[in-house]
């Protein structure tokens, strides 16, 4: 069942959204959600509903902007894209995240802790 999938934990969703938009350019909400799931190799389960407040927050902070457009199958949809500030923020957060994981990785490496 879906129980073996991890929920997206708080704070990382924003980073994932930014990264997704960097990779894909313009994308609508549903597309962002699906893309995050795919990228995670279906290990993550996104509650799509939590995505929309997160998108609104990013937009209020000026990291992304939105525009109504037409989707591939001719449906009217709202498209999000990264702003310049968003690109910078992505770089900054990605760097911080890498640092954190690198540190944790060292801690978790077997037999390396007390050296």
């Amino acid at each position: 069942m879906a129980n073996d999938k991890s929920d997206v934990w708080q704070g990382t969703l924003a980073l994932m959204v930014l990264k997704t938009l960097e990779a894909m350019g313009e994308l609508h909400g549903y597309g962002i959600a699906r893309r995050i799931e795919q990228t995670s190799g279906d290990l993550l389960s996104v509650n799509y509903g939590t995505l929309y407040p997160a998108l609104l927050k990013l937009e209020q902070e000026g990291y992304i902007s939105s525009e109504w457009g037409v989707s591939d199958n001719n449906r009217k949809a709202k498209f999000y894209k990264l702003t310049r500030a968003g690109r910078k923020q992505l770089e900054k957060e990605a760097r911080e995240w890498e640092q954190t994981t690198a540190i944790l990785a060292r801690f978790l490496a077997p037999g390396e802790v007390s050296r």
Binding site: Y30, G31, Y48, T50, K57, Q60, R75
Partner: protein, 891 residues
């Protein structure tokens, strides 16, 4: 930065809600459709596809809700919702809203009005910069606590002090202006050159005096007040350099200054029209160290110097001045007093009492509105039960009710401030002379913020009780009971509030009653003369006439003769210097037969009245022994004096004072020819502490020397007539102009008016407290009426059953009245206890009644009981008319 931007957008998110909601719905719909399409492609059935998509989205409505929370500011939004809802509720109950708003408006308005007076008269009476550093400089003599410095003493202190930024002096003087239109009497000041800069008064036009102009022999210059400038010169911007004629002398106007320079607690308020440099005054007495000539001294203490340091320096000055001029300055000391204390004076206790009184009125208003809310809340129990059932927390419901209360109180406050600004103007126009610096009293930002603070406090005060009560009611019960039943606790609160209101109202009524009785007693005091049908006026003859005793006496004689010749006039006399209740002219004296004491400052002091032969007759001051003055008591006759009975009894106990002689510092001794009754110079109430009690009358015809122009600069005339005083004015004016065409006639008043004016402060407190007590009584009556009516309405059913079981209307009446009576008795007990404690504080304002005057207490309790009975009787009558059948069927 990002966070601030986000907050701005969220505040913006409060608006354009519907469009955003539509967009969000469209976006989510699009999301769903894309998801469903994908699911279909993956091979699900349409139902499955839709169901799965909805589950993944976590529900459309929940998503919308969380987006909305992020979009705006949830608590602000729900607050706005509460406000909108509250406004709707208030609009739906216009009767309730009107009564509550009006009640609060009365309470808040009264508070605001009194606060505006307190703000202007008590807290900020001095309209100059850094008012706390301005002090009055007084002299102290062994006989006088508060005396004035003479000009030479002032100059020494001014020159040598180190703790003051400056010391200035001033004296009031009036002038006769001639040329350009009718001659007129102008009020003014003679000031030292630094007077304006010291106080921080800037000229509106031109400049103020220079030090070299404040000297004998300097070119005559004058400043004019704003009032005169506008009134007489049409606000001419070219006025500096033009000339003005005062007392027959031409002065060059050098500038215009504001008129409202209030430095004294005036009996009336007047505005200064002209200012002259005091140093130019050529009266030789000014430069005589023994005379103060009404000179007042103010100083501004330097920054960083304490009051005590400044006082210490003054102590040194007092000692050195006393040592340097023995025989003149013996016993002199110099002391300072904050100008504010001097200005505020004895109005403080009255104002504080009134402040307390309006506080009571506000409490009563709050209790009334709380009762209204309580009564109304019983009708709303169901509404709140439903809200609670739908998930509203207790805090949310309390907040909703508080928002409604605050809305009520803000509306009440707005109306109240309107009432206050109107009421304050009204008050000041009725009783202007009781307050210092009246020009400054009005609605300003301090008063407005006070009103706002009081309003919000009141809103929380009366809103919290019903809100907490209501939020505590049991859900199920409320729903089941269909909102009728209210618990006994509810009634107990209402009863307690009404009892409290009655108690507060009783305190105010008793205080007002005590003041009314005091005024009655004061008014009944015998002033020592008969004020009925006595007209007084003032006249100023030009300086040419007043410079020689012969011409002055002739003019004054001519004046009295012309007035006495008017038909209906029974007696007339001049009175120079002091009029009963007004003015102050004092000299030392000692009896001839005893040796002159070595120290001047141990001598007794007496008031001096310079009067004509018919003065005692005109005033009807009783002659006890000897004779009054005669036309022959002039400069060629031996000097004589008439004394009052107090002087006669104290100085010559057990002896016949007639024929004894008194010395008055200068000149030959004067023979006592008569003894007359004592006059209450200082007002009808209790004499102020240290007031001079002895009185001597001098024949004005024996007045000569340099005193004459001073004494005669204000010539009062008293006229007793059988005719209405108003009809005398024209003939009097004609008589004056026949003697001196340039002499203005002014200050025309009856003796009764002067007496009434002397009681202005007393009347001010009494009228205000009376008004507040009446409002309090009215509100309390409405309160008890409301509660008893409510009770009757609630118990219609029960009353119906009782009557069906045989109760007579009388029984019902008794039942209802006893409910009201119980509240009244508790209230009266509380009120009496509080009154006994509080009225003692107003002992200084009372005259002739004790603070626990049983007559006042009993009378007021009777009035209150009567009003309570009336307020209960109306609903009781309604209860008596209950038709048992109708009442029972009603259920």
């Amino acid at each position: 930065m990002r966070a601030i931007r986000a907050w701005f957008l969220r505040v913006g998110g409060l608006f354009g809600k519907q469009r955003r909601d539509r967009e969000l719905a469209a976006e989510l719909e699009c999301h769903l459709q894309m998801h469903i399409n994908d699911n279909l492609r993956a091979g699900m059935t349409p139902e499955e596809a839709r169901r799965d998509a909805l589950i993944k989205l976590g529900g459309v409505e929940q998503t919308k809700e969380s987006v909305r929370d992020r979009r705006g500011i949830p608590w602000l939004e729900s607050l706005l919702q509460d406000v909108r809802f509250g406004l709707r509720m208030l609009r739906k109950n216009p009767g309730f809203t009107a009564v509550a708003v009006l009640t609060l408006a009365l309470g808040i308005g009264a508070n605001t009005a009194v606060y505006s007076v307190i703000d202007g008269a008590l807290l900020n009476p001095i309209p100059f910069p850094q008012p706390d550093r301005i002090v009055d400089v007084h002299a102290r003599w062994p006989q006088f606590q508060k005396a004035m410095l003479s000009y030479p003493n002032f100059l020494d202190v001014q020159r040598e002090n180190a703790t003051f930024e400056g010391i200035a002096c001033w004296r009031t003087e009036s002038f006769t202006r001639t040329g350009l239109g009718d001659p007129e009497r102008l009020q003014g000041k003679m000031v030292s050159a630094n007077f304006f800069s010291l106080l921080g008064i800037r000229p509106l036009l031109g400049r103020t005096f220079r030090a070299e102009e404040d000297q004998l022999g300097a070119a005559p210059v004058a400043l004019i007040g704003e009032g005169l400038w506008k009134r007489r010169f049409g606000a001419d911007p070219e006025i500096p350099g033009k000339s003005i004629t005062l007392d027959g002398k031409d002065y060059t106007v050098i500038g215009v200054v504001p008129s409202d320079v209030h430095l004294l607690r005036f009996r009336g308020s007047f505005f200064d029209d002209v200012f002259l440099p005091v140093g130019q005054w050529d009266n030789p007495l000014l430069r005589d160290r023994r005379n103060s000539l009404g000179l007042r001294t103010v100083g501004r203490i330097k920054d960083g110097v304490t009051f005590l340091q400044a006082q210490a320096e003054m102590d040194r000055f007092g000692k050195s001045l006393a040592a340097a001029y023995p025989g003149v300055n013996d016993g002199l000391s110099v002391w300072i007093e904050p100008l504010k204390d001097d200005l505020v004076g004895d109005i403080r206790p009255s104002l504080l009492m009134l402040w307390g009184a309006v506080g009571f009125v506000l409490l009563i208003a709050c209790a009334n509105v709380a009762n209204l809310l309580l009564a109304r809340s019983s009708g709303r129990t169901q509404e709140f039960a439903i809200r609670a059932a739908l998930g509203a927390g207790r805090a949310r419901i309390v907040r909703q009710l508080l928002v409604e209360s605050i809305l009520l109180v803000l509306a009440g406050g707005a109306v109240g401030v309107g009432l206050a600004s109107w009421g304050t103007r009204g008050l000041l126009s009725i009783l202007p002379s009781a307050l210092p610096a009246v020009a400054r009293v009005g609605i300003n930002w301090r008063v407005l913020s006070f009103a706002l603070g009081v309003s919000v406090l009141a809103g929380i005060l009366f809103g919290l009780v019903p809100a907490l009560r209501l939020s505590k009611t049991n859900l199920q019960e409320a729903l089941r009971e269909s909102g009728r039943g209210n618990t006994g606790a509810h009634h107990r609160i209402q009863g307690a509030l009404v009892a409290g209101e009655l108690g507060l109202a009783l305190v105010l009524l008793i205080a007002a009653g005590l003041l009314i009785r005091s005024l009655e007693k004061v008014w009944a005091v015998n002033p020592g003369f008969d004020p009925e049908n006595v007209l007084t006026f003032s006249v100023s003859f030009s300086s040419g006439i007043m410079s020689s005793p012969e011409r002055a006496h002739a003019a004054l004689h001519g004046l009295v003769d012309s007035v006495a010749a008017i038909p209906g006039v029974q007696a007339a006399s001049v009175d120079l210097g002091v009029l009963p209740f007004e003015g102050d002219s004092e000299v030392i004296f000692w009896p001839d037969e005893k040796p002159k004491p070595a120290k001047m400052n141990e001598l007794p002091i007496t008031l001096t009245y310079f009067v004509g032969a018919d003065y005692f007759q005109a005033m009807r001051i009783p002659l006890m022994r000897g004779r009054a003055f005669m036309p022959t008591d002039d400069l060629t006759a031996p000097p004589v004096v008439v004394v009052d009975e107090d002087l006669a009894n104290s100085i010559f106990p057990g002896e016949d004072p007639i024929g004894k002689r008194l010395h008055f510092g200068t000149g030959p001794s004067q023979e006592i020819v008569g003894v007359v009754g004592h006059v209450r110079q200082w007002g009808l109430g209790t004499d102020p502490k240290g007031a001079t009690h002895y009185q001597t009358y001098w024949s004005f015809q024996q007045l000569a020397g340099p005193f004459l122009p001073i004494a005669a600069s204000t010539t009062y005339v008293v006229v007793r007539s059988a005719r209405s005083p108003a009809s005398l004015i024209d003939p009097i004016r004609r008589g004056i102009h026949a003697i001196d065409g340039n002499a203005p006639l002014y200050d025309v008043r009856t003796m009764r008016e002067i007496m009434a004016a002397s009681l202005a402060e007393r009347r001010f407190s009494m009228v205000l407290l009376g008004v507040f007590a009446t409002i309090a009584l009215l509100l309390a009556a409405i309160g008890i009426y409301g509660v008893v009516s409510y009770l009757v309405a609630q118990r219609t059913h029960e009353i119906g059953i009782r009557m069906a079981l045989g109760a007579r209307p009388g029984d019902v009446l008794r039942m209802v009245l006893s409910r009201g009576g119980k509240m009244a008795l508790v209230g009266i007990a509380l009120g009496l206890a509080a009154s006994l404690a509080l009225t003692r504080l107003m002992a200084t304002m009372l005259f002739g009644v004790s603070a626990t005057d049983p007559i006042t207490f009993a009378g007021v309790v009777a009035i209150l009981l009567g009003v309570v009975l009336l307020a209960c009787w109306i609903p009781a009558r309604r209860a008596m008319r209950v038709d048992p059948m109708v009442a029972l069927r009603h259920e």
